[in-house]
Amino acid sequence: MTEIIAGVLILIGAFFSLVAGIGLFRLPDVYLRMHAATKAGTLGGGLILLAVAFHSEQIEVIARALAGIVFLLITAPIGAHLLGRAGYIAGVPLWSKSGEDALAGKYDTQSEFLEGHPPKS
């Protein structure tokens, strides 16, 4: 029985990884690609780790697998956040057809000062 669950989980995980890959391939600019990479990628990796946990049925393996999943869930979004911010500040252009850039006039990339929110220091 656990084999079936593991098999299914692996399949779904692999599917999401594939989706992430395709997203990375087809999406036009860095910000969209980041979504694909982090969301689908983390989900894919997490599910496969979960599959390992189910398949092993040993406590310490499950513990480590869960720790791994938690770890993934923390690091991926932070990584994406950093990249997005750095990319925007470095002036990586948005995709032409994406809506108007909400921050365009208001956020000065050099001094990182958002209008109406003076930097604390």
């Binding site: 098999g7 890959g21 894919g44 398949h55 393996v61 993934l72 991926a76 750095a86 470095a90």
Partner: protein, 120 residues
């Protein structure tokens, strides 16, 4: 090397490995092609995730569960690489304005290099 078990698990792991491989290929494409440097870092991060996927599947296939430690360590170090490169992009952005980070026109840089005899 044909250790894959029989039954459903066997088939599913094969498919999983195939799709992971395709994802790996697409990520490498993005990494090499990526117009901006940020794209490449995203691809590198994705690479780490696919790596973890591979490791997971192999752990199941060979039922050698110690592999997931490699996976966890990879997740950690992948994050470190992303942070390092993100900060690099951020730092570069703050240097006196020069054009895009990627390898679009570097005219003045090339001239300068040639003036110095371009040997070194």
């Amino acid at each position: 090397m044909d250790v894959l078990g029989s039954s459903f698990l066997d088939i599913s792991t094969r498919i999983a490995l195939a799709s992971l491989l395709v994802a790996f290929a697409l990520t490498v494409y993005r990494l090499v092609r990526g117009p901006s440097f940020a794209d490449r870092v995203v691809a590198l991060d994705m690479l780490m995730l696919i790596g973890i996927g591979f490791i997971g599947v192999m752990a199941v296939v060979t039922s050698e569960y110690n592999y997931i430690d490699v996976g966890i360590a990879l997740a950690l170090v992948g994050f470190l690489a992303t942070v390092a490169f993100a900060r690099y992009i951020y730092r570069r952005a703050h240097l006196p304005k020069d054009d895009q980070l990627d390898e679009v026109a570097h005219a003045e840089e090339r001239e300068q290099y040639r003036e110095q005899g371009g040997r070194s």
